[in-house]
Amino acid sequence: MASSPAGSGDPIEYYARFSDGKSAGARDATVMLGLSGLEIVQASPHIRAVWAYANLRSGEPLRERAVDALLRSTEQAGASLFVPGQPFAAALMTRAPHLTARAERWRHARPWIGLAVAIVASGAAIYASGWSPARAIATGLPDSWRQRLGQQVITSMTEGYKKCVDPRGLDALRSLNDRLADATGTGRPFTIVVYDWPLTNAFAVPGDQIVMTQGLLAKADSADEVAGVLAHEMGHGIELHPETGIIRAVGLAAAVELMMGGSSGGLANIGLVLAQLGSTRAAEREADLQALRVLRQAQISPAGLGNFFKRMLSQEKKGDTPGQLKQFDILSTHPPTEERQALVERQEPYASTAALSPAAWKALKGICTTTVDAAPAPSPAEQPRQAL
């Protein structure tokens, strides 16, 4: 009777094919499940070997329904043992549990599950603390980088639309810009460009630059309303929201790319991500608070800020805004109008004057009577302060 060197293992012998890993020939063998390892006996030439269970590696993880087992051992590099039949694989599972699919998966996934939990917990903690890594990076960006980045965004978002350059309109816009920019108290120059674009919109881009559309000017009832919208966009600029949004989007895309093993196309779609940036509601509130501060400093009534959005909302409810444009409309990224209106109404009254004279307001409304193709924007060094 064949004896097990380990003492009292499984007495059943299983048919196997043994390959030494030196040549592709295979030899008949028998294998027994010993107490501490597999006992392999090769018939011709007669060779006996014991592979400890702990040193076994399996061609594919062992399962209850496995039809056979293909094994290697670190004790005999290159050699392999093929044992056909389900009973051997099932019996081996109890002696070498590290070869089961469940054990292998857990061994591989456990550190990454731990890392995932740590990432999610860190994210939650950062969110709860109110600290924004993207904002911290945005604050450190040189001004020249911010302005160039902004020009890139303007170029990509206004493609196909002409720039409005009527001289009298430009004078009026410069006057309004000077008044508001001085009131920000930041000493930073703001650049405002109007495009002949029927969409009702205004948006801030990196580098303290603001794009406003002819559609918005057409919908505005007064210069105070335009001043309110511009002060709001300047608020975004002061808070570095556009820069923060881009850095956050890029960081998220890179993280997704890294996590999805490069098959998500995330980096390739960065352009889309940039174009689809939307301000968060918290950022909108911050911009509103900055706008109210700027308007007070500039002695312009805050009513225009609330009124404009209120009227836009009521027009939208009536269906005046074409359906296809809604998703790109200024309202899509802004907080509820009621909330903004309440914020405006809570302001202490102060002495104010009209944002622009009636003549200047009329000139601003007509800024798109003269348009030019949107040439590449001049570099920041070439731009006069508060140029349009």
């Binding site: 018939a43 999610v120 790319e257």
Partner: protein, 487 residues
């Protein structure tokens, strides 16, 4: 095929108590073995089934033996683990799928073994991420910042990047194949791909870029010296004609890859020429051309009849959904028809490659058929689309059931919490179902290709010795990034 184990009493090796049949030892009378094999399976039955493991080592029989496994359960588990690890587990998931597919593939009844690891794939990807993806992205960002509004600079950069990627794609194919062959073993003997990935990448590149540069230069010259119409015509006709290089190119690349392939210390050789491929290519090329031209004619007629598209061109007012759907249906049909025509050519190409691939004294043979291959490709796509659609429907149902819809008037934190739950309820089913569909689709493709492959002729298997070349240390990160790693 059933492959029961054979058991015997411990004293079966004793002289006179055992007889040798088909290479394994069986006792004359073994109650224990009979008990283990069960009442429905006799030892004799086991003998017959086990004889599927060929004893004669002069021929190699290729089979695909998955038992009842279809990788659906594995796909499900992999999907869940990818969610729990934020996607990082995908390298290990891919490895486990490969180990299964390799083990289902049998030579003389013994499985191939995949010895690659998830760790190797993951590190390979990280290196490519750091050395290729990030610098490419950083270069684009730098141009945006340093040269704002310069569309020409962006275009030049994109051209340079695409050119580099075109070179890297060939490189990636080769490296991926080298990695997989080095991690493929049979009876402990591993495969290998010798030769230069750079040389293959260069051939892959110039056989596409060369004709493109030549045609573009000719078109520019004609446009400058004769007129833009002539230049445009040369460009269009030139590129359509250049498609005829593809069979020659495929054959050349196949030769490079196959002649560099080793199993153990033995070479695999390729003797094919591109000539026989051209007759089939003519059908595919002409068939596709007819389908596309017909679709263009139908589309032009539809656009002219509708009038809505002219409005769209002038006012950007989108045409009615019905008109758009009709047009989309026409081009979807084109896609399906062209896929079927292309599959027919692909099948003939696979058969051509197989019959011209030789190992020792034997030649491969493939019986892959065009219609079956077309159906396989199409049904795998439908499978993936159906899985994602099912996941979205299931996720939406879960959102409806849980009532996790952001409500106005609630706090920001509550809204963010609800929105996060919504994303998870949609995303988790999508990731899981995609993993299931992908694993099952890979199973079906491998089953079809392997089941239709054979090796005809005599091979002295015992004489094949181990390959002594050093195997690559890392996984095929580049192919993974370009999404061309197949499995």
């Amino acid at each position: 095929m059933l492959r029961p184990c054979l058991t015997r009493a411990q004293n079966a090796n004793a002289p006179g108590t055992a007889r040798r049949t088909s290479g394994y030892v069986r006792p004359k009378h073994d109650e224990r073995a009979e008990r283990l094999l069960g009442p429905t399976m006799s030892i004799d039955h086991a003998e017959r089934t086990i004889s599927g493991i060929e004893r004669s080592d002069s021929t190699i029989k290729i089979t695909f033996d998955p038992g009842t496994d279809r990788l659906i359960g594995l796909g499900f588990t992999n999907g869940l683990l990818q969610v729990l690890t934020l996607g990082i587990y995908s390298a290990w998931a891919k490895t486990e799928v490969r180990r299964k597919l390799w083990s289902f593939t049998r030579l003389n009844g013994e499985p191939l073994e995949y010895t690659g690891t998830g760790r190797e794939l993951f590190i390979g990807f990280l290196i490519v991420f750091a050395l290729v993806l990030m610098p490419t992205f950083a270069g684009g960002a730098a141009i945006s910042i340093l040269l704002p509004g310069r569309a020409d600079a962006v275009t030049a950069y994109q051209f340079a990047v695409y050119t580099l990627f075109l070179f890297l794609v060939g490189n990636a194919f080769y490296r991926a194949q080298r990695y997989r062959l080095s991690r493929t073993q049979w009876r402990g003997i591993r495969g290998a791909l010798v030769g230069s990935a750079g040389q293959y990448g260069w051939t892959y590149f110039w056989t596409l870029a060369g004709p493109a540069i030549f045609i573009t230069a000719a078109a520019l010259l004609a446009a400058w010296s004769i007129g833009p119409d002539v230049g445009g015509t040369i460009l269009l006709v030139g590129f359509i004609a250049a498609l005829w290089i593809l069979p020659w190119r495929a054959n050349k690349l196949q030769r490079m890859m196959t002649d560099a392939t080793r199993f153990g210390d033995r070479r695999v050789t390729y003797t094919g020429t591109s000539g026989p491929l051209y007759a089939r290519y003519l059908y595919a090329w002409a068939g596709s051309a007819v389908v596309i031209l017909a679709a263009i004619a139908v589309s032009v007629q539809m656009i002219a009849a509708s009038g809505a598209f002219q409005v769209w061109m002038q006012t950007k007012q989108l045409p009615p959904l019905e008109d758009g759907a009709k047009l989309a249906a026409v081009w979807l049909s084109v896609l399906v028809l062209c896929a079927m025509i292309t599959a027919s050519y692909r099948a003939s190409q696979i058969r051509h490659f197989a019959r011209n691939t030789h190992f020792e004294g034997a030649s491969f043979r493939s019986s892959v058929a065009g219609p079956r291959l077309a159906w396989l490709i199409l049904s795998n796509w439908l499978l993936r689309i159906g899985a994602i659609a099912t996941a979205i429907a299931a996720g939406s149902l879960l959102i409806y059931i849980t009532g996790a819809i952001p409500k106005p008037g609630t706090t920001d934190a509550a809204r963010i919490g609800t929105a996060t739950l919504d994303v998870l309820l949609i995303l988790v089913p999508i990731v899981v179902m995609s993993a299931v569909a992908t694993a099952f689709a890979q199973f079906r493709s491998t089953r079809y290709l392997v089941s239709n492959l054979s090796l005809d002729g005599v091979v002295d298997i015992d004489a094949i010795m181990q390959n002594q070349d050093a195997a690559p240390k890392r996984g095929e990160g580049l192919a993974q990034v370009f999404d061309i790693d197949g499995f």
